[in-house]
Symmetry: C2
Amino acid sequence: MTLQFPQASEDKRALEEGEAFTPRFDANGLVTAVVTDAGDGVLLMVAHMNAEALALTIETGIAHYWSRSRGSLWKKGETSGNFQHVVEIRTDCDQDAVWLRVNVTGHEATCHTGRRSCFYRTVGYKNGMATLSADGSAPLFDTDETYHKKS
Amino acid sequence: MTLQFPQASEDKRALEEGEAFTPRFDANGLVTAVVTDAGDGVLLMVAHMNAEALALTIETGIAHYWSRSRGSLWKKGETSGNFQHVVEIRTDCDQDAVWLRVNVTGHEATCHTGRRSCFYRTVGYKNGMATLSADGSAPLFDTDETYHKKS
């Protein structure tokens, strides 16, 4: 019953200007998903979706991804309660990426470190070296308790 | 003279909480780059960077990418004049993606279709089919003239 996606057109104009959503999955069967907060637009995370994750996201309105590290479908928030409710999905010109604008439930945290966003460090450049500086954002939930209690 | 990046640590804590920027390039030598407007936060594009593109971006403050379709370094804006001046670079928890907040010069357009953003279509779901709707954003420059005049 899962939504199926038609094969992507090889016609550039159809891909860029057409009304058919024909995601261009890469060699691993994935598209890139960029996830921002529907409220203030902050970038929360970057992840990947296979066809099943993308279809489930569209059908249920709850973000699903493909976990490359675990090699499995990943309903974001299933452990932490921090589900992502999708307000809008967009795709880009060549349809190999999607943009999800979401509202996060639970602790309003997206990162597995407990922070609101995965992008909590800025890149600096000093004396020919690239460095990172934390922006001071703190964990919004106890990740040890949330993730380690499960066995 | 180009900035070199140290090998990424296998220690998860160093990667997530450390102060060394050690990007985790994938099997193709790329990290994902998410690009937003530094002014209003709108998502402009998603692209990829190899080590050289990332180093040049950090060193020059102008966004460079790796064009997967052309297989070459890509100084964004070289043809159109729509350069991206980098206000801030962030990386995510596992350092396999970067977030660039930029100011776009020239026509203030990022998409090769002439539009401000590559994400000009929303995904809808009707009668078991996923469809696209244009958001009405129009080209900000004459792409035929800009791209086709060059031979």
